[in-house]
Symmetry: C2
């Protein structure tokens, strides 16, 4: 997605250790017009998949997910990072975050993820793929099927995408970063 | 907002202690078509306010906020509930949650909230108004102005709305609940 890559080059900030900050337009301040264009591109790339629901994880996945849900007129479920006091009937799994160097729990109610659901998972970043694997586990527990996984930015050098694709999952990333070495953003040729 | 109130009556679930769960269409599973209608109504109600940015708090505020930002073509900033390891230049404040009976910190980068900003705060619920007061504090620290505050659902019996309006803030709530006594949802006549 050309406009996204141009925006990343213009407004993304690179830090030592393979860190890319896109805080000014994706995950702290968000550009809703760009989010809509991103959602249109996800719709195009998953056009062949039967999908009845969008799923994401709070918080940065919510904006692109709600836009995809809006375009496809499908419900959007976001997995929560803390078990809410008032939620029953919960499925949960543990996700390890390399960025934060700690584990956290994500959970979803069985009321909104169940047998027969064919979900499209949408998130902002794909790095090691641990959040994505958490969603796969929740879907498995629920008896639901993951029809595809769409990410705004994939850090190919952290290999989560490779793993997911090797599992046979239809993965689409709108900007794939091959390397952030020397704080230079280099996209994979697609 | 008639369609919202009808949806709350149809799909909202009431629990002892003044708890209203709208998990099936607002804050766990979300209905994006309803979110867009909600955003249109916010645009209408704040038509007279000069606004250059939408602000919200993760996670349930993000969906309605991004829809309002999309309609108005304005950037959307979400305050984070945990200080991210990679964020500098931060403003933070403490919010007490009655629902969860604990305090948490919300923070926003000075890069995305500053002098000259006239922000519209959007959130799913207004109860005691503590998150809203946290946003007022962040705006004050940043030198920004809060031009209005829009909530999907206000629990009038918890008086946050009264307090905010007494402070002279333009508050709009699309469904105002007067009482949840005996687990019966009673809307305020508007």
């Amino acid at each position: 997605m050309k406009s996204l890559k141009e925006r990343i080059l213009r407004d993304g900030k690179c830090f030592p250790g393979g860190i890319l900050k896109v805080d000014s337009f994706i995950n702290h301040q968000m550009d809703p017009i760009l989010m809509k264009s991103i959602a249109v591109e996800f719709v195009r790339r998953f056009a062949s998949e039967p999908i009845n629901k969008i799923i994401t994880v709070e918080a940065s996945g919510i904006a692109p997910a709600i836009m995809v849900g809006y375009l496809l007129e499908l419900p959007v479920v976001f997995a929560k990072k803390k078990r809410p006091s008032t939620m029953e009937n919960m499925l949960s799994t543990t996700v390890f975050s390399f960025t934060k160097n700690r584990s956290y729990e994500i959970c979803v109610s069985r009321d909104y993820l169940g047998p027969g659901d064919k979900v499209l998972f949408i998130d902002d970043f794909l790095a090691n793929g641990n959040a994505a694997k958490g969603i796969l586990d929740l879907a498995k527990q629920a008896g639901a099927e993951v029809a595809g996984m769409g990410f705004i930015i994939e850090k190919a050098f952290q290999h989560g995408g490779e793993e997911l694709r090797n599992m046979g999952i239809h993965v689409e990333s709108l900007a794939v970063i091959e390397s952030l070495d020397n704080c230079e953003i280099r996209f994979k040729q697609q």
